[in-house]
C-alpha cells in the first residue's frame, strides 16, 4: 500500500510541472496585459486615454515586458522556493491573502450545498431504484433533471428577482450590508442563512440529478444480486435488507469520488456566484482572468489544477484501500 502511494506521488511531479507551464500559458494567451485592460476601463470611466509610452512604462515597472521564460521563472520560483504566489495588481495584495479571505465562505457554501445535494438525492436515488418505473421514480428523476436542465445563471437571476419582488430582502451577497464586516453572532448567522438558500438551491438542484442517477444505477446493480435474493428469502425485512448491504455497497463509489470534490469546493459555482454577487473565490478567478491580473489568475489556475491532481490521488488511494484488487493489478 505504501509503495503504491509513493509511486503515485512520484508520478504527480511531472504532471504538476506540466500544469504550471500550462497555467502560465493560459494567462498569457490573451494579448495585452493588466495595464492595457485597466487603461481601457479608465478610458470609459474618466475619458482619459493612456498614451502608449505610459503603458509601456507601467509594464516595465512590473517586469511585464521581460521574456516569457523569465516571467515564468520568477513566478514559479517564488511559489516553490518561498511559497510566494505573487501580488495581485488589482487588489494590491498578496494572492494568498486574497484567496484565504474568501476560502472560508466558499467552503461553507460548498459544504451546505453538498449536504443539500446528498440529503435530496440519496432518498430519491434509492427509492427510484427499488421502485423502478413507478410514478415516484419518474417524479423523483424528473425533479432531479429539471434542476440540472435549468441553466444556473438563469435560476439564480429568477430566484433573486423573486426574493426582491416578494420578500423585499436585500439581494446579492451572503450577508445584509450591516453584517458584512460584523463578528459572528446569532443575528449574523440568521442573516447568513436567509441569504444562503438561494445559492444552495441553485447549486444544489444542478447537482442532484447526477447523484440520483449514480445512486439509482449502483442500487440497481446491487439489488438483483444473489446475496440480496438470499437475504430476502431468509425473511429479512425490506428496509433492513436494503440498508444492511446494497446501500452500503452502492455508497462505495461515492467515497472514492470524494477526492474529486476538492477542486469543486474552491472553484465551483463561479457563474452562480457572479450572478448572486457572492464573496467566494469563483468570481475572483473570473475577474482576474478578465482584467489579466496575471499572478492572481495564474496562481489560482495552478491551485485548482493541483487540487484536481490531489483529488484524483486521494480517490485513487481510497479506492485502492477499499478494493485490494486495484492495488495488485
Amino acid at each position: 500500500m505504501f509503495a503504491y502511494i509513493l509511486k503515485r506521488l512520484l508520478y504527480t511531479i511531472p504532471t504538476l510541472f506540466a500544469i504550471s507551464i500550462m497555467s502560465f500559458i493560459i494567462i498569457q494567451l490573451p494579448p495585452g496585459d493588466y495595464f492595457s485592460v485597466l487603461a481601457s476601463k479608465m478610458a470609459k470611466e474618466s475619458d482619459t486615454i493612456a498614451n502608449t509610452a505610459a503603458l509601456e512604462a507601467m509594464g516595465a515597472r512590473y517586469g511585464l515586458n521581460e521574456p516569457l521564460y523569465v516571467q515564468y521563472w520568477k513566478w514559479i520560483s517564488g511559489i516553490v522556493l518561498r511559497g510566494d504566489f505573487g501580488q495581485s495588481f488589482e487588489y494590491n495584495r498578496p494572492v494568498s491573502v486574497l484567496l484565504w479571505d474568501r476560502l472560508g465562505l466558499t467552503f461553507l457554501l460548498s459544504f451546505s450545498t453538498l449536504i443539500f445535494v446528498w440529503a435530496v438525492s440519496f432518498p430519491i436515488g434509492i427509492y427510484s431504484a427499488v421502485r423502478k418505473y413507478s410514478i415516484g421514480d419518474y417524479l423523483g428523476t424528473f425533479i432531479g433533471f429539471v434542476g440540472l436542465a435549468i441553466p444556473n445563471f438563469l435560476m439564480a437571476l429568477v430566484l433573486m428577482y423573486v426574493s426582491f419582488k416578494y420578500f423585499g430582502r436585500s439581494v446579492g451577497g451572503l450577508f445584509s450590508p450591516e453584517f458584512v464586516n460584523a463578528e459572528w453572532s446569532w443575528a449574523r448567522l440568521m442573516d447568513f442563512l436567509a441569504h444562503l438558500w438561494i445559492p444552495v438551491i441553485v447549486l444544489g438542484t444542478a447537482g442532484t440529478a447526477g447523484l440520483i442517477r449514480i445512486m439509482r444505477a449502483n442500487m440497481l446493480d446491487e439489488i438483483y444480486k444473489p446475496y440480496v435474493v438470499t437475504a430476502r428469502a431468509k425473511g429479512l425485512s425490506e428496509i433492513r435488507l436494503l440498508f444492511k448491504y446494497p446501500v452500503r455497497v452502492a455508497l462505495n463509489p461515492f467515497i472514492s469520488t470524494v477526492g474529486w470534490v476538492l477542486p469543486e469546493l474552491v472553484s465551483g459555482a463561479t457563474i452562480t456566484a457572479i450572478v448572486l454577487s457572492l464573496p467566494t473565490t469563483g468570481p475572483l478567478l473570473l475577474r482576474s482572468l478578465i482584467s489579466q491580473d496575471m499572478y492572481l489568475a495564474g496562481s489560482f489556475i495552478m491551485m485548482l489544477s493541483v487540487l484536481t491532481v490531489l483529488g484524483t490521488l486521494i480517490s485513487d488511494i481510497l479506492l485502492a484501500w477499499l478494493d485490494p484488487r486495484i492495488r495488485f493489478k
Binding site: I25, A149, F153, T257
Partner: protein, 407 residues
Amino acid sequence: MTPTKTTSDVTDSRDAGLAIPADDPPTSRRHDDRDIDRADDLPVANEDRTVLVAGQWKLIWWKFRKHKLAMLGGIITLFIYFVAVFVEILAPFPPDQYNSTYPYAPPQSLHLGQVEGEFGLYVNGYAVSFDPETLARTFVIDEEVRHPVSLFAKGAPYRLWGLIPMERHLIAPDDPSHPMYLLGADRLGRDMLSRLIHGTRISMSIGLIGVAISLFLGVLLGGISGYYGGATDNLIQRVIEFLNSIPKIPLWMGLAAAIPLSLPPLHVYFLITLILSLIGWTGLARVVRGRFFSLKTEDFVTAARLDGNSELRIIMRHMVPSFTSHIIASISLAIPSMILAETSLSFLGIGLRPPVVSWGVLLEEAQNVRSIAQAPWLFWPGAAVVVAVLAMNFLGDGLRDAADPYA
C-alpha cells in the same frame, strides 16, 4: 464515471454468457448466427420465448419502450431536430429582422375568426404609447384591428439549407409589414419565435462535432490504454490526469481572446469547441479502458485470440460491439451538457456572440433585471433549453438502462 462503470459491469456478464466456443469458425456471419442460437442457453428460462430469440438491438428496443419518460424524451428530441432541420420554413421571419415600432412588444395570441371578410387566422394589432420621461413603451392589444395570418404564406425569401430558394413560411402575416409576435419581441423589435427557432439549429448542432471527436479519441486512446496496459497505459493515464486538471473556463477565455478576430464568430466558437473536445475525451477514455481491462481476460476474447484473429479484428469485431450501446448512451448524455455549456459560456461572454443566434446568445441578452421585470417572454429560450436538456437526458437514461436488456 461511476454509474457508467457499474452499468457496464452488468453488460459484462451478458457478454460472457454469449461467449462463443473456441472451435467456432472465425467468420462473422456464423458468429452472429451463433449469437442468437446460443441465446437459448441463457439463464433466463422463465422469460417469454420471443425474448429468448430476439437479437440484441431488438431487446434494447423492447427494454427502451418500457421506459415511458425515455420514450417521451426520444420523441421530443426528434421533434427538436426536425425543427433544427427546417428552421427557415418554420420561422415566420428572418432572425435579424428588426422593427423600430415594436421593441419589447408583448406576445400576441393567434385567433380564429372573421378577418377582412373571410374566416381565417388573425392576430390583433397593438396600440403603442411612449413616455418620454420614463422611456417606457406601453403596448395595448387593439381588439379592433385584425391582421390576417396564413399557413404557408409568402414572406421573406430565403434559401433552404443555403441551396433551395423559397419564400413560404409555415405561418406568417399576409402583409409582411404587419406585426406578428407570437412570442413577443426583443429590444430591437425582432420576433422572439423566429429567433428561438433559428437558435435551435446552432444550439443543437454545435456540440455534435465536439462530441464526435471526443468519442473517437476516447474510444481509441481508452482502448489502447486498456488493451495494452503497462507503460502505454501509464503514459496515457498521466496525460488524462494532466488534461483533466486544466480548468476549463480559464482555458476557454484564453483561447477566445487569442483566436484571430477576422474569423466569423461562429467559426471561433467552433474552433474552441474543437479544442475543448480534444481535452474532453478523457472521461470516456477512462470508461473504455476499464471495459477493456475486464474484457480482455474474458473467455470469448481469449477464444477469438486462440482462433488466430488479428488484434485489430479482436478489438473492432469482438470487444467494441460489446459496449456500443453504452457509447450511444454516452453521446445522448454528452449533447445536453454541451447545450448547457453553450449557454453558460455565452453568459460569460466567451461563447457565441451576436449576430450569431443561439439559445445561449438569446438567454444572455435576456439576462437582466429589465427583461425579467418587463419582458418575461424573452426567457422562452430558457424554456427551450430546459425542454431539450430534459428530453435528451431522459433519452440517454433510457438508452443506458436499455443497453443492459437482461437486467
